[in-house]
Subunit: 332 residues, 4 copies
Amino acid sequence: MNRIFSASSRLMRRLVFGGGRRQFSSSSPSYDTVAFLGLGNMGLPMAVNLATKSDYTVVAFDVSTDALNSAEKAGIRVAPSLEGIMDNPQTPPSMVITMLPSDAAVDSVMSILSSNAPPNTSFIDCSTVSPTTSRQWHDALAEKGCLFVDAPVSGGVKGAKDATLTFMVGSDSAKLAENWMIHCVLSYMGSRIIPCGGPGSGAAVKLCNNLALAAQMAGICEAMNLGEALGVDPNILSEVMNTSTAKSWSCEVNNPHPTVAAATKSPASKDYQGGFSTKLMLKDLQLAVGAGRNNQVALPIGCAISELYNMADLRGLGDKDFGVLLQFLRGK
Amino acid sequence: MNRIFSASSRLMRRLVFGGGRRQFSSSSPSYDTVAFLGLGNMGLPMAVNLATKSDYTVVAFDVSTDALNSAEKAGIRVAPSLEGIMDNPQTPPSMVITMLPSDAAVDSVMSILSSNAPPNTSFIDCSTVSPTTSRQWHDALAEKGCLFVDAPVSGGVKGAKDATLTFMVGSDSAKLAENWMIHCVLSYMGSRIIPCGGPGSGAAVKLCNNLALAAQMAGICEAMNLGEALGVDPNILSEVMNTSTAKSWSCEVNNPHPTVAAATKSPASKDYQGGFSTKLMLKDLQLAVGAGRNNQVALPIGCAISELYNMADLRGLGDKDFGVLLQFLRGK
Amino acid sequence: MNRIFSASSRLMRRLVFGGGRRQFSSSSPSYDTVAFLGLGNMGLPMAVNLATKSDYTVVAFDVSTDALNSAEKAGIRVAPSLEGIMDNPQTPPSMVITMLPSDAAVDSVMSILSSNAPPNTSFIDCSTVSPTTSRQWHDALAEKGCLFVDAPVSGGVKGAKDATLTFMVGSDSAKLAENWMIHCVLSYMGSRIIPCGGPGSGAAVKLCNNLALAAQMAGICEAMNLGEALGVDPNILSEVMNTSTAKSWSCEVNNPHPTVAAATKSPASKDYQGGFSTKLMLKDLQLAVGAGRNNQVALPIGCAISELYNMADLRGLGDKDFGVLLQFLRGK
Amino acid sequence: MNRIFSASSRLMRRLVFGGGRRQFSSSSPSYDTVAFLGLGNMGLPMAVNLATKSDYTVVAFDVSTDALNSAEKAGIRVAPSLEGIMDNPQTPPSMVITMLPSDAAVDSVMSILSSNAPPNTSFIDCSTVSPTTSRQWHDALAEKGCLFVDAPVSGGVKGAKDATLTFMVGSDSAKLAENWMIHCVLSYMGSRIIPCGGPGSGAAVKLCNNLALAAQMAGICEAMNLGEALGVDPNILSEVMNTSTAKSWSCEVNNPHPTVAAATKSPASKDYQGGFSTKLMLKDLQLAVGAGRNNQVALPIGCAISELYNMADLRGLGDKDFGVLLQFLRGK
């Protein structure tokens, strides 16, 4: 598992990078500014972690005034406008982090930023988007001498707040390897940085994992429903499955059955509050299905689950943990 | 996990049951005869284990003359006919084990045997059948003072040969608890005996586990196919998923991608030879879907996967490991 | 279309069969008694039509006392018990018509009746059941010198009341051809009698038609939903489809969109009251899917629609016209 | 059906438009030039019909040199480049017809053409594309004083050659009504022009119709397969369905069963040669599913069928009539 770097030790980072950074900080202040765009449920706590725990100067922006106010309250410096970020004559950011809700938002923000980005700027996109979008921006920025990295995350809002996110990272491997600042910056916001391969591979791995996860959860939901209808105690059923081939995160950690979830206090025990929302799973499945379509990959089960989540969302379950599929299948 | 008895120690069994059994053996020889019906890929090695490793007298039968010949070659005593098993005046079996291919076969064999079974005979059905079938025979035999136990297995042909099967056991719990011979007999053929609850619950748990397993496998197949089409290295993809929420037996132990499977020499590395066959998974899914229908449980994903396996089977892939779904989805 | 006999003229029937029947009536009264079993929403009006419009003596039975009371109020003679029907020494029925809700009910009733049915009794099963069930009873009764005919209907409660049902008839063709009483009796209850082939073919054709119908309706529902979301006027959309390849009964006669249905006053215009219920379509789809499973036929779309109707039923939409799928898909 | 204009009479067109056009022809030749872009299987015969039967000057272009050569052989004047079409100082086209394979191709061609299109140019896009694409170009061109019309067709290559296509037309209704040249030009290539509503509604109606058609065909394929497995004569089954609620184009005109198709010599009788290809149906379904996703419309059945066609295409059946689904489901 040597490809998985664990950012377990802040001390280690200080030893390896810290001094250097601080020296750079005085002599070449441009290394110290990081722009952070997108201050939603995920972006804001990530930006706060980076701003408060590191020595980087963080300049943030969001189209929502509310988000900007929240950021200022949290002590983060905000930019007057998106366009202004690159134009700042004193501290043009050496790195731009984006955490945006859609491919369209990434396209729109990157179009503006890339138009006047100085060479050697690094762009780290933590949004969950199509691998095609990631690759296109990687190629476009490479022409300008910039590096674009797709680095979508897992770990949810809790991971964002606790700085325990996992980053699935795709980019030009050689350039990524020599750009230590990227590892350094990400390690202030997460605990695992997983190189997945070339440009777009981070985005691809995230979609693939969540596609498999959705199928896993759907299977557990159907099994729990069937078992209960057949008179099997839900706790026994989940316990047996967890010692057998059906063992999985959706059965063991995030079991969608309220009775089983009571023991772990996972979302199903709290009317599916918290957790990974149906809406976000639907978004990821639609990205996966779209990627399948564009690449002639048949995804009949991914498609079928995507439509179930679509129907669950239309029925008002979009904000609940994606384990709520169990209830949706029961007609709730 | 105290409900899961591990039959790890033969010595322990000897200490606990062995003496008793041998004494019974001389004074009440009826305790010693076990009829074993169904000598297919699974049944034969199970019967061989029981006959050669225990002190029980095993009398076997199968409708196939070839199977009977194989059994005799393996040193197992065979009965002249199904009807003759209960009529034996000297050694009416105190226990009957069935390992049959379908609900219809179980119904047919049990109809004959139950008609003249003496009270206190135990019936252990290791076949994978509908929970309804199990419950019906449990009730019918209870009226005759007999105990019927549904005890389907997991572990495959290898587990049958190595006596490492897992038995998922459903029956009248009180009667099961006091009938130590059942535990004893099963422990000669498997390494785990899992009580799942009342009559039919063993059958139900097996179907639920395999339903969840099929969904999990389908998700991994689609994720591996999508990942490869998007340019991700299959080994990296599986490795990342195994550190994340998609971690599962189908990803880690039985990965359906030939490249990934090469490391573990699992079926996908050998053109899907060995493993759990598409045909058997299809059978289990159809039983699960049938149980869903009879109990008003919606199983849209189970149904969809069942049809995919149906199509794969129609295309001649029935004997390959169920991970061959990956190839089926690629149009192979 | 010469295989489709239209029972358009009562006069013609009188000319061809009527005199003969009346003569038989006096000399051999046994020709005149028809037993009718199953007096539900469909069976009762069918029995009433036969009893009041023909010269046959109709003796009816149902397990529900309410149904028997309704039948008596409608002037139909009821039998004291199911067993009593064949035992009547004076008028053993020469024909038995069954209109029952399930395969299990048909099996149960036929087991009783077939045990003491005199040779030459005709059994006409109008229930919608599995073709396998029909074939089994055909074969069992042929051994007793009786004819079993599967004759499921289309046309619904309205067709039953108006005697405009369509009968899809399967049986031994030669015997069916020479048994004019069957055609005669059916023509009092319906307006079309369609020979479909050998035993079970009537049941099979009914399931196939409804399988295709369900897919057609699902397609129209999705198309109407998509069209409206894209801003197309529902009336224009249905009108164009009705001049194009999507033209179908589900688009033209029973359009599931309330706005379109307003013009024809079809069920969707009345909150899906009346019409062919979701529950019955679900039953037919499950029979079709079961038949597919037993015959190694892949029915991925039939399965998927079956599960959608299952979910719609679980959500309380079972009694509404099956066009309510449009609303179910909208999250209603 | 007064919204459906039938272009049945060439004489009528001459009387209504012809003189006027010829007069315009001499005095203002610019009215007479129509650019035709996209000379594939559909585009070439459409362009030939327009060029040879009308008095318009047709100037054609395609990126394929082969297509250009074929066009020249057919007597059509070809432009030296796409860019050159609008730059022609003598005869800037008053109308541009596009018949292109994808949204991307339409975007690319329209980007070039729209950049220097003079006001009042009409753009008729006969490609099958997303309604969103159509609406975007409508709005973009309206700003330049031009009219964009989405006018996808049905009728296939045969309809294109015979000038019997159906055009489903969406645009600004008022402007469309006053622009008689559009009706005139289309009537040289088709026999039906169906106004579907505002911009994008032609594209939307085409997708909705084909979505419903795919479900219809899938239902007929599954019904024919099930019926045959149950021993029903395919001709009887299709005949009965055609007198019942399953009656449809896919059952009656384009039945996917070879035996049934023999009577009508439709594609299934010729190994699925000719007809509407699996690849094109897949494309339309993917557009429909994409439109569903962008508009929060659940299309579970459309999705499922789309994936079946995807798998059929991956298995090399892409060029066969979409009725080949019957064979795909059989494992062929």
